[in-house]
Every structure is written in C-alpha cells, then in structure tokens.
C-alpha cells in the first residue's frame, strides 16, 4: 500500500505543472470542424484543444468518424467546414512535426526495421550521421534492439507496431497522432505496449491525440477523454482524467481508475452500438 501512496504523492506534485503547461498553449486546435462526403455528414462542430504536453484520448462508437478526424488533423484528408490548426497554423496538408502511428502499422515490407524507422528522417532530409545515431536510439527505446536487419514479415504484430512507433518517434514530432495503434495486437501485448508507450511519453512528453476503441485504454492514456457521439457525431462529452502521473501498471488498480472507466462507459452505454465496445471488465 505504501508504494501506491508514494505514487499518488509524487504525482500530486508533478500534476499541477503538467496542467498549467498544457493550458498555456494548444498544439492542436479544431474550430467547428466538420467533414462531409457528399450528403453524408461524418462529424460536425468539433471543437477540440490539445495542449503541448497533453494526451487526449478520443473515443466513440464505430463509424463515428474518430479516425477520419485524426486523418483530417494529420492533413491526409481535407475538412469540409471549420478549421484545424496545429501550432496556430491551418492544416491543409501533412505537416512536419506531426507523426501518425497507424492501426495497420503501415510498415514497408521490403524495408528492414532499420530502414523503416529511418524512413521519416530520410524524407525529412536528415544527415547520414544523424540517421546513424538516432535510428538505433529509437529502435532501442521501443525494445527492438537486435532486430535492425529483420523484415516486418518476420515479426509479430506487437513487434511490428513497436517499429511503427519508433518510426514516428524518430522524427521527434511535436504532435503524435495515434490511430487505434494497439487494436490489431492481442490483449497481453496491448497492455505491455500501452505501459511502454506511457513510460516513453514520460521521458519525452509531447502532444498526443489517441484514438481508441477501448475505454480502459482511453482512461489509462488520456489526461482527458473526449467522447464523440451522435449522427453526425460531435463532441458529446469531455471527461477530465485526474489520475496521477506517471501512469503505470498500478494506475489500473486505483479505485479512481475504475470510477472514471464507469463514467466513460456510462456516457457511451446508451448508444445502440455499445456492443461494439471493449470494456474488458473482466480484468
């Protein structure tokens, strides 16, 4: 019990700093953002702000457009209404300093782990020496040391996503967009990856927008959980996650964690598609 108390105490000290910093400047800002495909409105009037050292988890029923919103923020898709700003600049195309981690990993099967991780750096025109130094560093960080020359098809899904994560981290982004990054890996691997991502984030906190299907994951990762709901969907609720940092495995055992999980669940449960959610109450 004493170790748990220590975590909370330490977090109580770090947390306020964390908050004020994130409030002072917003890295991602969407103002009345809407997306239409012809007559079909995916989402509308989305107002969202994510601070510099803030993690916002985006949840919502399948088909609510949370992945579409993320793609719009990355500049892969144009929005139909409103605006999306990153560091105050309007997003019209993919921007430097923003990196996305994909649900489908998006690794190039003909490139080794090393070359996949180096991809973003090479496109950004990084010097050879820079690549030689940074790539092993990030491969190390995600726990893939020794796998530099391995091809994606020789690795498990979890390892592939580690590689995808290293590729995104390697460009040292100011904004990290996570598109259900752990949805395609098994439950145990997911938990390990979540905790490792948290500890990496603690080492170098950045802005992170995390789209997920899993309520547990949203509460564990997020400083806030934004719930998208409705047809067309919009921001239905924003839940402050007042759990202490650093978030670790112990966080999962806190009573407050369970409470918050219930709160998020309750905002979503009246939705007809609740069956599609993974509450994973059994844990």
């Amino acid at each position: 019990m004493s170790s748990g108390a220590a975590t909370i105490r330490r977090a109580a000290v770090t947390d306020p700093t964390h908050r004020t910093e994130s409030a002072s400047q917003s890295r991602i800002r969407t103002v009345g953002a809407g997306k239409r495909y012809g007559d079909f409105q995916v989402f509308r009037d989305v107002d969202l702000e994510v601070g510099a050292r803030e993690v916002v988890a985006l949840v919502g029923p399948s088909g609510c457009g949370k992945t579409t919103l993320l793609r719009c923020i990355d500049g892969l898709l144009p929005i139909s209404d409103g605006e999306i700003l990153i560091e105050g600049a309007r997003v019209t195309e993919p921007r430097a300093g923003v990196a996305m981690v994909f649900q489908h990993f998006g690794l190039f099967p003909w490139k080794t782990v090393f070359d996949n991780v180096a991809y973003g750096l090479r496109l950004a025109g990084a010097a050879k020496a820079d690549i030689a130094e940074k790539v092993p560093h990030f491969i190390n960080m995600v726990g893939l040391k020794g796998f530099e020359k391995v091809y994606p098809y020789q690795m498990s899904g979890g390892m592939q996503q580690r590689c995808g994560l290293a590729r995104a981290l390697a460009v040292e982004p100011k904004v990290l967009l996570m598109d259900e990054p752990f949805a395609a890996v098994d439950a145990q691997t997911r938990e390990i990856l979540q905790l490792e991502l948290l500890s990496i984030w603690e080492m170098r906190p950045t802005t992170m927008l995390f789209v997920t299907h899993s309520i547990e994951e949203a509460v564990l990762m997020g400083d806030r959980v934004v719930v998208l709901k409705g047809r067309p969907s919009t921001v239905h609720e924003v839940i402050e996650v007042d759990l202490p940092h650093p978030r670790t495995r112990e966080t999962l055992t806190l009573p407050r964690f369970a409470e918050l999980r219930e709160i998020v669940w309750n905002t979503l449960k009246d939705e007809a598609r609740q069956a599609e959610f993974e509450l994973e109450k059994g844990r």
Partner: protein
C-alpha cells in the same frame, strides 16, 4: 539418409527421362530418312562441330545482342509506363483498350508491316523483340502497381513524401516482383520475337543458322540450333525466376 533420398528424387527421374528421350530420338531417327529427322547422336555431333568451328559462338553473340537490346528497351518502356498507368486512372482508362488489343495480337502479324516501314537492319529487328517482350511486362506491372496498398501510400503522404519519393520508396519496390513475373514471360516471348525477326527480317544469329542449315538439308544442324535456343530459353527463365524470388522475399514467400 534424408539428403540421399532427396537427391535421388531431385535428379534421378529427370536424368532417366532425358536418357529415355534421347534413346527414343535415336531409334526414331535411325528409322527415318536423314533429310526428315537426324538421329540424336548425329545432332550432338553437329552441335559439337558447329561449336568448334565457332559458328555457334558468332550466331549466339548476334542473337543475344539483339535479344538483350530488345528486352532492356521493353523493360525500360513497360515498367515506368505500367506504374504510371496504374497511378493515373485517366491514362489507364484511356489506353486500356489499346493495351489489351496489342497484348492479344500475335506480334508476328506485325512483322511485314515493320518490314515495309523500316526495312532491313538491326533497328527493325529490335522493334520486333520489343513488341514481343513488352506487353506481358506492361500488363503485369499495371496489375502489380494497381494492387499497392492504399495504406502504404497514406503512410508516405503522412511523412510528406514527394511524388518521386513515393515512386522510389513505395510504388517501384512494391511493383518489382510483379514486373519480374512479367519480365519472365517477356523473356519467353522475346526469344520468339528474336527468332521471328531473324527469319523474316535480315537473317542473322541463330535464326540464320537454322535457315541456312535447312536450305542445305542439314537436319542435324537445324535440330542442333533448336537445342541451343531451348537451352538458352530455359536458362534465361531460370535466371528470371531467381530474380523474382529474390525481390519477392519480403512477401514472406522466400522462406
């Protein structure tokens, strides 16, 4: 021993079948007039004689120059064109009918036309080889490049890739194994084109060797020349398959 076993399965049946084939040939040849079919031993003897005299080497050098010039040009045209047609839908839709028609057309039918247009010489022969070899390469490249996963293109866009970068990092590496399947088929077709060009346009190389032997009623010489082409074709196909497997290793089929 497992290795002994696999060795026996690997090499023994083909060896026996080759010996049996040669024996059959020898027997049928000995029963027939030498003007129609020479025996196996006579053919081999002629092959050795042609090789020793240097005629085979000269003919092969001529034919291979023609063949590889044509094949390389076909690859250089068909692979970039194929990726481009796959990438830009308008171009593909506009040219699809022509490509399908030309792919289906027996290219030999075009030889008289090429002759009247370009006359004799090296260039029209190269054109024939290109026409024969190009379409399977083009067709397979288009099919391959069209199947590039949109997710990977999205990754490239997300990392701010230029159009050239997209070709270099995604489209070409993805399409390469498909293009090589086409190239392997193109090798077979290109050899047909090579012989056809050497028959019907200015006689040269192996084609000329066959024509001359036939004119002299040298059946053994004809058959010896055909054997040379057969061995050559099989060897080139094997090289093609090797390359294909090498570049397709990432598909996870290599292991």
């Amino acid at each position: 021993m497992a290795t002994g076993e696999s060795w026996r399965i690997r090499y023994l049946p083909p060896a026996i079948s080759l010996i049996a084939g040669a024996a059959l040939w020898q027997w049928v040849g000995s029963q027939t007039s030498a003007a129609f079919l020479s025996t196996f031993s006579a053919t081999v003897a002629r092959l050795v004689a042609l090789t020793v005299s240097g005629e085979v080497v000269t003919a092969l050098a001529e034919s291979m120059t023609l063949f590889f010039t044509g094949l390389v040009i076909a690859i250089l045209i068909a692979v970039p064109l194929g990726v481009m047609l796959a990438r830009f839908r308008v171009l593909r839709v506009a040219s699809e009918t022509y490509i399908m028609m030309l792919y289906a057309t027996p290219m030999a039918a075009l030889i008289p036309f090429i002759l009247s247009l370009m006359g004799f010489g090296f260039t029209p022969k190269v054109v024939v080889v290109v026409l024969f070899a190009m379409f399977p390469i083009l067709y397979n490249t288009i099919e391959g490049a069209r199947s590039v996963k949109p997710e990977l293109i999205e990754v490239a866009r997300s990392y701010r890739s230029s159009e050239w970068g997209l070709w270099r990092d995604v489209l070409i590496p993805y399409t390469l194994p498909f293009a090589l399947t086409g190239i392997r088929q193109g090798i077979g077709r290109g050899l047909v084109g090579m012989i056809a060009a050497e028959f019907y346009l200015s006689a040269s190389g192996i084609g000329r060797l066959i024509t001359v032997s036939e004119r002299d009623f040298d059946t053994a010489g004809v058959l010896a020349s055909i054997i040379i082409i057969s061995i050559l074709g099989a060897a080139l196909m094997a090289v093609g398959r090797r390359l294909e497997n090498h570049f397709a290793a990432w598909r996870g089929l290599g292991r």
